[in-house]
């Protein structure tokens, strides 16, 4: 452990790069998942349609989807031999971000939906009578439940920053490129470097805590 802190304090370039890569991938994928995920969650929460309950149940089960399954599916799609192979994104940051975004999407959608369902059912009507259009009703509902929306995006961030399956299968653990904290831990462990693995684990923990604290601070100081 002492060696790990030494690495961090001494500003070991590679350790910081790996940390930055992890952060970058997870934030990007969580954000990308939020772009369709939050509106979808809002729609599911506010609209009543056939199969809504089934959809929610499916989304909830997808939240527990093993990361390697997502990795495998995306891998078979973006491999040169796969249907999306011509884009050549396997073993690039884009591949990792894509896979992690898919991993994050069900979490964003279902947590946004459940967060918004705590909104008073009359809330959309209050907006409507004041003159809001349907789109404005959706937007205002998100703003009102931004705590829930934020926890949804945070939860998806937490899910992807700690996962190793997608990052390893789609990123290939390439040094200075797609090596993240989790894949680095897997590598160090395979080399028997448990101390370094543990240290990187600590970095992961501190980072997750830091992001959570920062976002909560932002919410409180709105």
């Amino acid at each position: 452990m002492g060696r790990a802190f030494e690495l961090l304090v001494s500003g070991d370039r590679e350790v910081w790069f790996i940390t930055w890569t992890s952060l970058r991938f997870s934030m990007s994928s969580a954000l990308i998942a939020c772009i369709p995920g939050i509106p979808l969650g809002v729609l599911i929460a506010l609209r009543r349609f056939r199969g809504r309950r089934v959809l929610l149940a499916v989304l909830t089960s997808l939240m527990a989807l093993p990361t390697v399954v997502v990795g495998l599916i995306v891998y078979s799609l973006i491999s040169r031999a796969g249907p999306l192979g011509s884009f050549g994104i396997l073993f690039t940051p884009r591949a990792v971000i894509l896979g992690q975004a898919i991993l994050a999407l069900p979490i964003v959608v279902s947590m946004t939906a459940s967060g918004l369902s705590s909104l008073d059912p009359l809330f959309p009507e209050v907006l409507t009578t004041l003159g809001a259009s349907k789109r404005e009703v959706l937007w205002m509902s998100v703003r009102q439940s931004r705590g829930a929306v934020l926890s949804a995006s945070l939860a998806s961030f937490g899910r992807v920053i700690g996962e190793v399956g997608v990052a390893m299968m789609l990123g290939g653990n390439i040094r200075w490129y797609t090596r993240t904290i989790t894949t680095a831990i897997a590598l160090e462990t395979s080399k028997g470097e448990f101390e370094l693995g543990l240290a990187l684990g600590m970095v992961l923990l501190v980072m997750a805590l830091g992001v959570n604290a920062a976002l909560h601070w932002m919410v409180r100081h709105e």
Partner: protein
């Protein structure tokens, strides 16, 4: 407009509203005039809220029609109803953020400039007695303040028609009085008010017209609701002046504006009666119409009084339009509000 008279503000025909397959509202015919204060009373679940939501075009009736200025709502008349009317829900449901943001929301969402909307909001807050509340956080208000901010949020739109659902539920007596005053002023400025309430005191004091909803069916109340004021009080009676009539009522101090006299408390006779009843008014029968097995008569005693009598009694004392008669009722039959 094809009909000779201008269309009523709201006209309802054959209206049925259902919820979970249950009919919650059933209104065969109801018209609401512009400028009036219509108050609906009734049990929980009697359909008051549903009626208000239908009037605002927020829900669609299962059957029948609601027309606003002659156009169906929802439908052709929806834009007009949305532009001219606003519903204040029973629970204030304020948005997160400041009071100013809440009250300016309506004008803003309708395309008004920020500064203009803020001015509107400030004016509305002054109207509800909360001047300078713009920067307060909505989450830090008391129950009564919340209710008034919610009212201000609607008033910022300067609606022609204000729909209020239980505006004084969950507030203390002090706030209730303030809200009553606000509604009275809003009405005095020409706004049509249609409201529901559980509070009979508030209903009597504010109403131009009182409707009782019973299991989704509205009916006029069989009471004479007489607006006026206390002229004087002696040790026995309070004298309540309404139109040309002076009613003797039980002596009670208070800021009363309404005397309520149930239609079945009135005794009609040809000659003055020698009785314990302290009120005797001379009048002329102006109207006689059947009301179920009974008859409703209207007697002009300086003010029109409605009375319920049996057909047999009507025949015996010769009640007919134009006939003179004496109306007798006990002082204790008059309730002041």
């Amino acid at each position: 407009m094809s009909s000779p008279s201008a269309p009523r503000l709201f006209e309802i025909r054959g209206l049925r509203a259902r919820f979970d397959g249950r009919t919650v509202l059933s209104v065969d015919s109801l018209a609401i005039k512009e400028g009036e204060v219509t108050v609906m009373v009734g049990e929980n679940g009697s359909g008051k809220t549903t009626l208000l939501r239908l009037l605002n075009g927020l829900i669609t009736p299962a059957e029948g029609s609601v027309k606003f200025r002659g156009k169906p709502v929802p439908g052709e008349g929806l834009v007009a109803v949305r532009n001219e009317s606003v519903l204040v829900h029973q629970s204030p449901l304020l948005f997160r953020g400041t009071v100013g943001l809440n009250v300016a929301y309506g004008p803003r969402i309708r395309g008004m400039r920020r500064a203009e909307a803020a001015a509107r909001a400030s004016a509305a807050l002054r109207r509800v007695g909360l001047p300078g509340f713009e920067r307060r956080r909505a989450s830090a208000l008391s129950g009564g303040e919340e209710q008034r901010v919610s009212l201000a949020r609607a008033l910022a739109l300067t609606p022609r028609v204000l729909l209020l659902d239980e505006p004084t539920s969950n507030v203390d007596e002090q706030s209730r009085r303030e809200i009553e005053t606000i509604i009275r002023e809003v009405s005095a400025s020409g706004t049509t008010v249609i409201m529901s309430t559980h509070n009979m005191e508030l209903a009597y004091r504010l109403c131009g017209r009182l409707l009782r909803l019973d299991a989704g069916v509205p009916a006029e109340v069989e009471e004479n609701i007489l607006k006026g004021r206390i002229e004087r009080i002696d040790e026995q009676f309070a004298y309540f002046r309404t139109g040309d009539a002076l009613l003797r009522c039980p002596a009670r101090q208070g800021d009363f504006v309404v005397a309520v006299l149930p239609c079945d408390e009135l005794i009609l006779s040809r000659q003055p009666l020698d009785s314990s009843a302290r009120n005797q008014l001379n009048g002329i029968v102006t109207e006689l119409r059947p009301a179920g097995s009974l008859l409703t008569t209207v007697i002009d005693c300086g003010i029109p009084l409605k009375a319920l009598i049996t057909r047999e009694a009507a025949a015996e004392i010769g009640v007919a339009p134009g006939a003179a008669c004496v109306v007798t009722f006990k002082a204790s039959a008059v309730r002041l509000h």
